[in-house]
Structures are given as C-alpha cells and as structure tokens.
Amino acid sequence: MVGNLDILAIAPEIALTAAVVVLLLVEVNFDPHPRVWGGIAGVGIVAATVLSVFQWVEWSGGSGELAFSGMITGDGFSAMAGMVVFPLAGLSLMSGWRLVTEMRRRGAEMVSLLLLAAAGAHLMAASANLIMLFIALEVFSISLYVLAGFTRSRADADEAALKYFLLGAFASAVFLYGVALLFAATGSLSIYGDPTIYEAGARGIIRADAGIAAFLDSTIILEPGLLLAGIALLIVGLGFKVTAAPFHVWSPDVYQGAPGGITGFLAASAKVAGFAALARVLTVALGANIADWAPAVAVIAAVSIVLGTLLALAQTDIKLMLAYSSVAHAGFILTSLVAGPAGVAGMWFYVATYAVSVVAAFGVAAIVSGHTMGRSPLSSYEGLARRSPFLAAVLGITMLSMAGIPLTTGFVGKLAVFTAAADAGYLWLVILALVASVAGLYFYLRVIVLMYFRPTSDDAITPRVDWSSGIALGIATLATVLIGVVPWWLLNLLNDALPF
C-alpha cells in the first residue's frame, strides 16, 4: 500500500528522522564529543539535500504526483523547498555551532530540534492536505519555540520563547479554525483531491475526494461567507509565521531575545516554510478565488512594507532592525503572491536569497555580541571593518543585498516580485514598495557607515570568528554576490518550481 513514489516523496524526512534517532541514541549511550553530533547532523542534512535534488531531477517541470493518498505532493515546488530549507539548516547549524557547544550536553537536543524543524518546514511546503499542513506546521513551530528559549540563564530568552509560544499557539489555532471553515465550505481538506478509492470498509466505500481546487473550480458559491472567513483565517495564521504586519508583534522580541546563534534559522526557515505553504494554498487550492484573496494579501503586503520600514528606521539594535526589516521583506514577498501562480517563481527567488542573507546577518550579529546573547546594539558595530574586515564585509554585502542594491540577490529578488505584481495590475503596491525600498536604504547603509567610517572605540573587543561560522558566512556571502551577478540560471530553474 506504500509504493516507491510514497517513499521518495518523504525521503528527506526519513533521512532527517533517522539522523535524529541515531543522534539521540548515540548521545545518551556513548556521551560523545560534540563533533559526533555535528557529523551525524551533517550526514542527515547532506542526505536530505541530495534526496531533494533527486526529487527535483525526477519531478521538476513535470505534471506532479501525489503520494500517501493525496497527503503530500511530489513536484518541483516541494523539491525546491527541500533544496532551499536543508542547505539553510546546514548553514545555520554551522554558523551557530559555537552556541551548540556552549549548551554543553543540551546541544544534542538543539541539533535534533533543528533537524526536525527543517523536516517540518519541508513537509509544510510539500503538504497537499490541510491537516497534513497543520501537523507539519506544528512539528516546525514547536521546534522553533523550544529553540527560541534554549538559553535558560537569560530571562529575556525565556520571555522570547514564552511570547513566541503563546502567540504562535494562538496563530496555529486561528489557522486550524480556518482549515475547519474551509472544510465546511468546500467539503474537502485536500488541495488536489484524493485519487484513490479504498476497498470497502466496515461501513461501505470511503468516497473519493475531489479536493478543494476542483470543488471551487466547478461550483458557484452564492453565499461565500464560510469560504471567505476560512480564507481569511488561513492567511492570518500563516501571516503570523512569516511575520507579516499586523501579525508581526512577536518578532522583535523573539529575534532579540533568542540565543544569537540560532536566530538566523528562526527567521529564515519560518519565511521559507510559511511562504511556501501560503503560495501552495493560495495559488492552487484557492486559485479560482484569486479575486477574493489577492486584495487582502495586497493590503497586508502594503501594511507590512510601510510599518516594517518605518519601525526599522527607529531602531538602535541591529537585531531589532533586522526584525522590523524582516516584516518589510515579508511585505515585499507577499507582493509577488498577488500575481497568483505567475508570482511564485519570483517569490522563490526572493525568499531563498533573503533567507541566506538573514542567516548571514544574524550569524555576524551572533559573533559580534555572543552566541548565547540576545541584545546587539548598533554601537558595537562602530569601526568593525578595522577590527574584523571579514565580518564587516559579510555584513556589508548582506546589508546591500537586503537594501536591494544592483549586483546583489536582493535587487534581482525585488525586481522579480515587483514585475510580477505590476503585471497583475497592482501598480500602487509596486510604487509603495519602491518608495519604501528607498527609505530602507537609510537603515541598511547606516550599518555600513558605522562599520567603515566610524572610529572603533578603545574598549571594543575584536570578535573571533570560529572556522565553522567563517565557512558558513563565506558561503552565504559568496552565494549572495554570485547569484546577484548572474541570476538568470536560477530564475530559469525556478520556473520549474511551481506547484502543479
């Protein structure tokens, strides 16, 4: 009853789960050196990445497959999600390795939770059923709640984890309510439907399920109240995860309070998983109702862009600045979704490259102000170029990319999402986003000015870069520049990464 296709569809998850099981059992039985955790986790992540590439080779550009009776998809979209999420988890683990070792024995749990969060994130992107999506969302976000509060000796980390947990649980409940209403409105939980009819059970045949998309395509709904309420709640629940305003209030506290070494992963993976899930649910399941949700998404995007940019202007802590700027970036990415399926390739480009940038930025912040620490005032970056040219270069290029300067990935990403939105007729949103991008230059360039044109204070410490963070930051920066200079191959590749 479980075929090869089914196994391939969840192969990355199998690899990661196996890595977690081995890691936990080895840890409790042999009490190994942290290097062993790193080795096991590395094997798991590399295996998951390779399997995602294999999925990509198998499925990209194809018509898409359903596995596990319509629970999960095999298409370019889910393979691309794996190819983004798993390397991202690897980069985050490398740049946060100091934190893992500083947690001593609890570091094993930290690595396990990171791997399980990555598995949950990929499952979210691959889900073809809303209940499946909900369970994946819970695996993903509960891991993140724990990771946010891992450093127990700081009260603000506890506070961050508690806020993240309470607000996140509330958002999950909102999402689940949306799923229930959508089920009431369409009679299905499945996005694509379930092609398999099972043999007669005790009470007769379990009927085939046409799926939400097919139902909405073939039905004119005269009183769409339930449907609209369900769509709204789904957008709110997932909007929380991707820090879209006005559902972003948790993000500054969490990004600032969470242990520095893991914040990059919290920020990046939530964006990738959240936007992937949002894109599939909106463009496929609710594709027939784009006229209903696109205006709402456009308004949320506009509010996120304006609010995120304005609040980021006022920050004096780099992590708070990054948190509010991530709200603005959530708005930019949402801009692509108003175009429906046409915007998905742009969304992928933006989300993947932004995730790499954000891991690099928080990685630098973790080295400058401590891997277990939360706060990271801008004053400690004054004259960083003289103390550590490498870190200053990484942060500088990352800031340029986030600001959207040409020859970086940020520019290409913005170009892609704005083009998609303009083609869909949302010119006002594009103009607003362009104005906000210009305003955003101020706080990104301010960091560069601080690092390169301000004298370093005498008591400032010289940050030490450990080799694993160094490699991770180097890879992230190199990717930002290289893909920024020659983005075409990736943009072409992403045209195959659409949900079927």
Binding site: L25, V28, G201
Partner: protein
C-alpha cells in the same frame, strides 16, 4: 454502536454521584460534632505557621507530566489500531510498528538521559564534564 450502549456508563456516573452525596450527607448526620478551639487549629502540635513559605520546586515535575501526556496519546492511537487489527493485517502492524518504534526510541532516550530518575544525586552522573581541550577546539 448507539447511545444505548452508554446507558451503563450513565448509570455508573449516577451511582458515583449518589455515593459521593450519600457519603457526605451520612457523615454530616452520623458523626459526632463537638468542636473546640484546639481542634480547629491547623496543627495539633507545633506552632501555628504565620504564612506559607515561598516554595521552589524542580521543573522536572513538568517533565514527567509531559512525558506522561506523550505516551498517553500513543495509547489512544494503539486503541484505534487494535479494533481494526484483523482487517489491517501486517500492513497495520508495520504502520503502528514504525510509530511505536519512534516512541520507544523517545522513551529509551528519555530514560538514558535521566529524565525518569527522581533522585538528584544519581542524575549527576549524566552531566557532561567538557574537557578543557574540547572547549579549546570548540572555540
């Protein structure tokens, strides 16, 4: 299965309520009551406490409760499998087996990690002492 199947449960419920009520009423009517100020004091010996001391308790209690809930949920799934055991056959055994295996792994991990040890002194042996050279390498 219909509502009638729940009749015994309802009767049981009523019996339990009746037993509790009757016990309370009986003890109120039968028991002799002649309270004296001494009998109403909280402790018959020792001094009367002025206020409760501030308590700190180990977070481990939550851990045990948490693990209990996890395995309680597993039982619920086993229940659903057990009623369809014959129809699902070996396929069902594989399905529930994988699930149980993952949870047994969790149990082994929690056990060996010392999460089920109540005695604090025996827990100490699980603490890692990071060797100085390991710290140097990590840093």
């Amino acid at each position: 299965m219909s509502m009638n199947d729940y009749l015994p449960i309802a009767i049981m419920f009523l019996l339990a309520m009746a037993f509790a009520g009757v016990s309370l009423l009986l003890s109120r009517f039968i028991s002799p009551r002649n309270p004296t100020p001494e009998k109403l004091e909280p402790y018959e010996c020792g001094i009367v406490p002025l206020q409760e001391p501030v308590q700190r308790f180990p977070v481990k209690f939550y851990l045990v409760a948490m693990l209990f809930v996890i395995f309680d949920i597993e039982i619920v799934f086993l229940f659903a499998w057990a009623v369809r055991f014959e129809q699902l056959g070996w396929y069902g055994v594989w399905a529930i087996g994988l699930f149980t295996l993952l949870l047994v792994e969790t149990l082994v991990y929690a056990w060996k990690r010392g999460a089920l040890d109540w005695n604090v002194s025996s827990r100490q042996r699980y603490r890692r002492v990071v060797a100085p050279e390991a710290r140097e390498e990590a840093a």
